[in-house]
């Protein structure tokens, strides 16, 4: 056996023996507002964040609209009933300091430790070179690194609360322009109570020199996280954005209802990558995060480009469809996804590609891996509007089944209204090939490692699209998530 392979084996083994390693909690003085959701809660959140009048109005409109809605039930999910009055909508671990921390010395050392433990050092000299991080714990952004350096080029990278204060015109112009508060139940909820998230603005013609990254962490008990991210990439600009997330192990379900909006102008390009590693619940399906998010990109500009890459390994329930609205002529969208479910996890995830303009093209590559007693669904929509001359879509959805008690489902929707459109969809579902397993075992690779290798090979199409550091993390996660699925 080559040394290369040995390293891989040792690596796979080391990670296979681990369980959810981010399940610790941090003891830090956190200000949590009372549970429950009323108009006063919305006002309180807005007041705590010192928001201008227009934003409060936006929140209230969303809240009143939310009251008229019912939680959707169309997903292929068995959703535990969510009591929206039993959740606290705002938790601030930095509240001890009057103003938000300005320098590292002011940040609670406990918080620093937490992020260090998660592998996200907040000290710039320790950070992985080439990545700027916005670290968000519960409802508040703790620290954004490399801000000054980025500002030299006119790039704005900060928490959305700061953006509201410092760049109100930009925020007001774009907030809700991609995902309006009327979009769906969870979008309305988020618009009413969103707390923190990242704001990115790349000015015209600037190629962002480093990867921008936001790390979300839920810590406080009985709270939900409602983050809001807004990325605006102006003409001819480029940015690569990463998102990571973890939560402590708790017996109760925690709600995470986020909105991500991306605006891509003429000839600009955005790469958005997520490694989602929320706590998936224990092996009996108890606890875990309910990940109910709305992510959408608007390709406004001519020849603009947006690429979503996601690795979904966590969450008890995932309900997520990162989508692209191709409104600029010649715009291109891509969606690469690996979704792994184990134990009692349920995922209903996919994408929507809405082709509005001529000569737009989109690619969908989705790989589902189900194990244990989990249910994994791909649900996607490709719509070609009458004006989208020469639109092109290619979709491929593969599912891999690792146990006889799990489920893998594909629900692709296609709605074609233009005769020049070419749309293709393919899907396959199968289990790991006995031949491949046998071949590996014959060569002395234990079964569990062999499965890990095959799964990583299967997901390679997508993992290759991730930035390097992320790809390594994703590979590790894949193996951890599948631990104990063989036999």
């Amino acid at each position: 056996m080559s040394s290369d392979q040995e390293t891989t084996n040792a690596f796979v083994r080391s990670v296979a023996e681990r369980t959810y390693e981010y399940g610790f909690t941090t003891t830090v003085e956190t200000e949590v507002i009372d549970r429950g959701l009323t108009e006063d809660t919305v006002r309180l959140i807005s007041e705590k964040k010192g928001e201008p009048e227009w934003l409060l109005d936006f929140r209230l409109k969303a809240f009143r609209y939310w009251l008229t809605l019912e939680q959707p039930t169309w997903g292929h999910l068995k959703m535990p009933e969510i009591d929206y009055q039993a959740i606290s909508y705002y938790a601030d671990p930095t509240a001890k300091k009057k103003q938000g921390p300005k320098s590292l010395d002011e940040i609670d050392p406990e918080l620093m430790k937490t992020f260090d433990k998660l592998g996200i050092p907040l000290e710039e000299r320790l950070a992985l070179s080439g990545t700027a991080v916005d670290a968000v714990m519960d409802s508040v952004s703790v620290k954004t690194t490399f801000r000054e350096k980025l500002a030299e080029q006119g790039i704005i990278f900060c928490s959305i609360s700061e953006a509201v204060r410092e760049h109100p015109d930009l925020v007001r112009k774009y907030l809700g322009s991609v995902v309006p508060y009327r979009d769906n139940f969870f979008a309305a909820l988020n618009s009413a109570v969103f707390s923190d998230g990242s704001f990115v603005y790349i000015p015209k013609g600037v190629r962002c020199p480093m990867e921008l990254s936001t790390y979300f962490r839920i810590n406080a008990q009985g709270t939900g996280q409602f983050e809001r991210t807004l990325i605006v990439c102006d003409e001819d600009a480029y940015v690569s954005y990463l998102e990571g997330c973890t939560a402590p192990m708790r017996d109760e379900n925690q709600l995470h209802a986020a909105i991500v909006e991306i605006v891509v102008e003429n000839r600009a390009e955005v790469k958005y990558s997520t490694v989602q590693n929320w706590y998936p619940g224990d092996k009996d399906g108890k606890g875990g995060v309910l990940n109910l998010v709305t992510k959408r990109g608007l390709l406004r500009g001519v020849n603009s480009k947006l690429s979503w890459t996601q690795v979904e390994t966590g969450s008890a329930i995932t309900w997520k469809y990162p989508s692209c609205v191709l409104a600029g002529e010649g715009s291109q969208a891509e969606f690469y996804s690996v979704a792994v479910t184990n134990n009692f996890q349920q995922a209903d995830t996919g994408t929507k590609m809405i082709h509005l303009a001529p000569r737009t093209s989109s690619t969908i590559i989705s790989k589902g891996i189900s194990a244990g007693r989990s249910q994994n669904s791909y649900r996607g929509l490709v719509r070609v509007a009458p004006k989208a001359e020469g639109a092109r879509n290619y979709s491929s959805c593969d599912s891999l089944l690792l146990s006889s008690t799990c489920g893998a489902h594909t629900f692709p929707y296609m709605d074609i209204q233009n005769p020049t459109a070419v749309v293709e969809h393919e899907a396959t579902t199968s289990k790991i090939s006995e031949d491949q397993l046998f071949y590996c075992q014959q060569r002395g690779i234990p079964q569990e490692e062999a499965v890990g290798l095959i799964v990583n090979g299967y997901a390679k199409d997508v993992l290759n699209k991730l930035p390097m550091e992320f790809a390594v993390e994703a590979q590790k996660l894949l193996s951890v998530s599948l631990e104990g699925t063989v036999g």
Binding site: L401, H409, P412, Y413, M414, I416, A427, T428, S430, K431
Partner: protein
């Protein structure tokens, strides 16, 4: 719930007349069906299986119902009583409930164990009326173990009257039995048809179910096939050629319940002018159905900017040792092929027609019944040429 009242009222006032002209078996199921129909109402577009067709609108006009049919000719065999309505569950589907509530007669095709029919059975339905007419049909096909039968149903309409047809077909394929059911619709633009097919295939049995929609106004065909015995096998074929304001919606569900079953599905659409087509095919593999082998394919040609196509192939899999795939494409005619033909002196219209025909012929080629295959080739060409009395049609039409 939109306007089920005219049907409920009709049922209440004409109940006695309906009963007196029908078999006791049919009458026995009416009450349950009426109750279910009232509860369900017409499915709105929010009901997943009906999202592509506006049912309430199709049922809104006031159609006549021919009530003074001759009394039932003969007593139904006992086997019909034990099977009637067992697959077509009125509780889940409004159209099935409506049909069961108002149905006047049932055609039963029964093939005893190990019997083979040499020649196919052909049922021809011709609609002719001086007033807008509604018709509720029922077909029951039972093939006992080892039996073989081919059934061909053709739908035609004469005169320019409005017609609304509902049909419920139940097919029982016994162990090792072989049933081929061909459903061909070639009516006109004022005919609306809702056809619900429910089939069950026992161990080692085979079912071929084909749906051809040539001319029609609105056609909605739903097929639910349950593979309940080991090694059962189903082949579903469909082809729709639409133009004008036509709307064709095929909705299939193949349920793999027993292990080792096979299913194949191929649907093709050529959608022209302002017409619309919809295909939703769901393959559901239950946890016990290991070694399932399923392939589903849907290909569509959208010919104009006004034409619209929805397609939705779905896989829902709860077993692990399976081989399932589905594919779906929407596109247009190949420009290179068009150019090649034009270069060789074939007119553009003719070249287009040839390419469309070639596209549809993949489905035709899969039809096991030779005579029908040849006939369909002619009919499909005729449909594409869209002419009543060209030389070609006269030559082939005898």
């Amino acid at each position: 719930m939109k306007d089920i009242s005219q049907y409920i009222e009709l049922f209440r006032t004409e109940r006695a007349l309906l009963d007196s002209h029908s078999q006791a078996l049919l009458n026995a199921h009416r009450d349950e069906a009426a109750e279910a129909f009232m509860r369900l109402g017409f499915p709105s577009r929010k009901v997943e299986r009906y999202r592509y067709t506006d049912v309430a609108e199709a049922f809104a006009p006031n159609y006549g119902l021919k009530l003074d049919t001759p009394p039932a000719a003969m007593n139904l065999p006992e086997v019909a009583a034990t099977r009637y309505g067992t697959l077509a569950n009125v509780q889940n589907d409004a159209i099935t409930a409506l049909n069961t509530m108002l149905v006047q007669d049932v055609i039963v095709i029964y093939v005893p164990a190990d019997q083979r029919r040499e020649h196919p059975v052909q049922l021809t339905n011709t609609l002719r009326s001086s007033v807008p007419l509604m018709q509720n049909r029922r077909l029951l096909i039972i093939a006992e173990a080892g039996a073989e039968v081919q059934v061909l149903q053709t739908d035609k309409a004469e005169g320019g009257q409005d017609f609304l047809t509902t049909q419920v077909t139940e097919i029982f394929v016994g162990e090792g039995a072989h049933v081929e059911f061909y459903d061909m619709e070639d009516s006109h633009s004022r005919c609306h048809r809702f056809h619900q097919v429910y089939a069950q295939v026992a161990a080692g049995g085979h079912l071929t179910h084909t749906t051809f929609t040539l001319a029609s106004g609105l056609s909605r065909n739903q097929a639910d096939v349950r593979l309940v015995g080991q090694g059962a096998d189903a082949l579903l074929l469909g082809c729709a050629i639409t133009d004008g304001q036509q709307h064709v919606d095929n909705n299939t569900l193949i349920e793999h319940i027993a292990p080792g079953c096979t299913s194949r599905e191929l649907y093709k659409y050529v959608v022209d002018q302002q017409s619309s087509g919809a295909f939703a095919g769901r393959v559901l593999v239950r946890q016990e159905a290991e070694k399932t082998d399923s392939i589903e394919r849907n290909a569509n040609l959208v010919c104009t900017e006004q034409a619209r196509m929805w397609t939705q192939p779905m896989l829902e899999i709860y077993a692990d040792d399976v081989k399932c795939s589905h594919g779906s494409t929407v596109g247009q005619l190949n420009n290179d092929a068009l150019f090649y033909m034009r270069q060789r002196g074939i007119s553009e219209a003719e070249a287009r027609m040839l390419l469309k025909q070639a596209f549809a012929s993949e489905v035709l080629a899969a039809i096991p019944l030779e005579a029908l295959r040849q006939r369909l080739h002619v009919l499909v060409e005729k449909r594409f040429r869209n002419c009543e009395d060209c030389k070609l049609c006269q030559k082939n039409n005898r």
